[in-house]
């Protein structure tokens, strides 16, 4: 596997291989256009582990000291939508922002994995846009579910790129565009806790299953978005994940 998408086409859900010209090849060889399919999240994780404040610049932006231990929280599958989906901005809120994040997809059952072996347990990577509605922040189990676990507020995709194809996931540029303008830029090498560290830390106390996802946090540059905005989260060597705010 180099690149793998999951799409709905012709009344069924199927895997698809994205081609360089933008079209998709289905497992039976059929070639379809990228606008002929409905893009689904490329995995159906049982468990989604997310990171808060994993880039020092973003922590600073939110007036937090960088954490000494990873700040983890869980997300439900209700949150996921695919590439080109629509996410609702609730009526009357003051601050809803995108968060472009490198998403790690687990490839093997992972328990007590050592950082040195971490990449053996990773199938590949995709892009997440982990929207937050800050109006709902409360100081209990923060970030609480009303901020971070909203229906269809975590676009994921467009596809998974294998670990071998990505190479070093700690050396990728991240960029978010709102209506074509760059609003967020970062570098995965600036994570406070690296992917191998996180995999060791998490699997010390919980088993991750194939298809589970770790969202590795977002860098500085959180800006309010409004209905009608088109938000593109882009990560070098992976792709561009498009979402519309409604």
């Amino acid at each position: 596997m180099m690149k793998r998408a999951r799409v709905a086409w012709n009344g069924t859900v199927t895997e698809a291989e994205p081609l360089d010209d933008g079209r998709l090849r289905l497992p039976d060889g059929t070639i379809v256009g990228e606008l002929e399919v409905m893009w689904l999240p490329p995995v159906e994780p049982c468990t989604i582990v997310a990171l808060g404040l994993n880039y020092a610049d973003h922590a600073g932006e939110l007036s937090f000291a960088a954490p000494k231990e990873p700040l983890l929280f869980f997300k439900g599958k209700n949150t996921l939508i695919g590439h080109r989906g629509r996410t609702v901005r609730p009526d009357g809120v003051n601050m809803m922002h995108y968060e472009c994040e490198l998403a790690v997809v687990i490839g093997r059952p992972a328990r007590r994995v050592k950082a040195e072996q971490a990449y053996d347990y990773i199938l590949g990577y995709t892009i997440a846009n982990d929207y937050a509605v800050r109006d709902y922040l409360e100081n209990y189990y923060r970030p609480n579910f009303r901020v971070k676990n909203r229906d269809r507020a975590t676009p994921l995709g467009p596809w998974i790129v294998s670990h071998e194809e990505v190479g070093d996931p700690m050396a990728l540029r991240l960029r978010t565009y709102v209506n074509g303008t760059v609003v967020q830029e970062g570098y995965t090498g600036d994570m406070i806790f690296s992917i191998p560290y996180l995999l060791e830390y998490i699997t010390e106390f919980m088993t991750l299953a194939p298809g589970d996802v770790i969202l590795t946090g977002t860098p500085k540059g959180a800006v309010n978005v409004q209905p009608g905005d088109e938000v593109v989260a882009e990560i070098e060597r992976i792709g561009r994940l498009t979402n519309s705010i409604v």
Binding site: T47, G76, K77, N78, E138, N139, Y140, F145, R146, M206
Partner: protein, 259 residues
Amino acid sequence: MVNVRLRLAGMRQALEAEVEPNSGTVAFGGRTYRVDELEWDAPIAGAMYGVALNDLEEWAALSKEMTAPPYEKPPEGPVLYMKPANTINAHRRAVLLPPGVKQLQAAPALGLVIGRTAARVRREQALDYVFGYTIVNDLSIPHKQRYRPAVKEQARDGFAPIGPWIVPKEEAAPLSSLTARVYVNGRLVQRADPSRFRLPVEQWLAEVSEFMTLDPGDVLFFSWPADAPLVAAGDVVRIEIEGIGVLENKIAPEQGGDE
């Protein structure tokens, strides 16, 4: 006799059975079994969400703390936590004590199993979306802070025994009468009932489904942590909810033998 939905180890499909919660017999397929001669699996495979700070006794004990930093004020919206797939555990299966940890808190909880996709449900209709009730043993490493999600304390492998079965709500006594009793090594250590819930479960279903959809098989659970027991290696925790059943699990060390 109560008609329940259950799952046994080694079988992919759920079964319907008749159980006698007091004597502990289970009848299906024309035969009757004792609960302890069957190998159990968790009766659900969905997501498990706990509603925190719903126990009035816990709320009263924290009332002062909740007005001080870092909390500043009591929560207005639901405070939820998740018990992910790795935490799901079954009746009579061991719960492993992590290395270096001497005690766990074992909080009894009433689990509502969702029967119909629940999005933006109204409080008045909320129970229409519930298939039935089950028992959850909400285990955690004791911790005081509630400012950040207590993932390492709550989400360890096997920390959410659930079952042994689901009692469809039509088969169960009224929700308000579902009294929980916790026994550790046979000794009664806690007794609690839904009159201790800060808000009714219908209200929570409405508030939670306002922003997140619950699917059939998902569980929203409500614990009574205020006076929940601390348990150690070798202890047997038995949670009984009247008219629902008995969920029993032994605490075992994670490494080094069976005691």
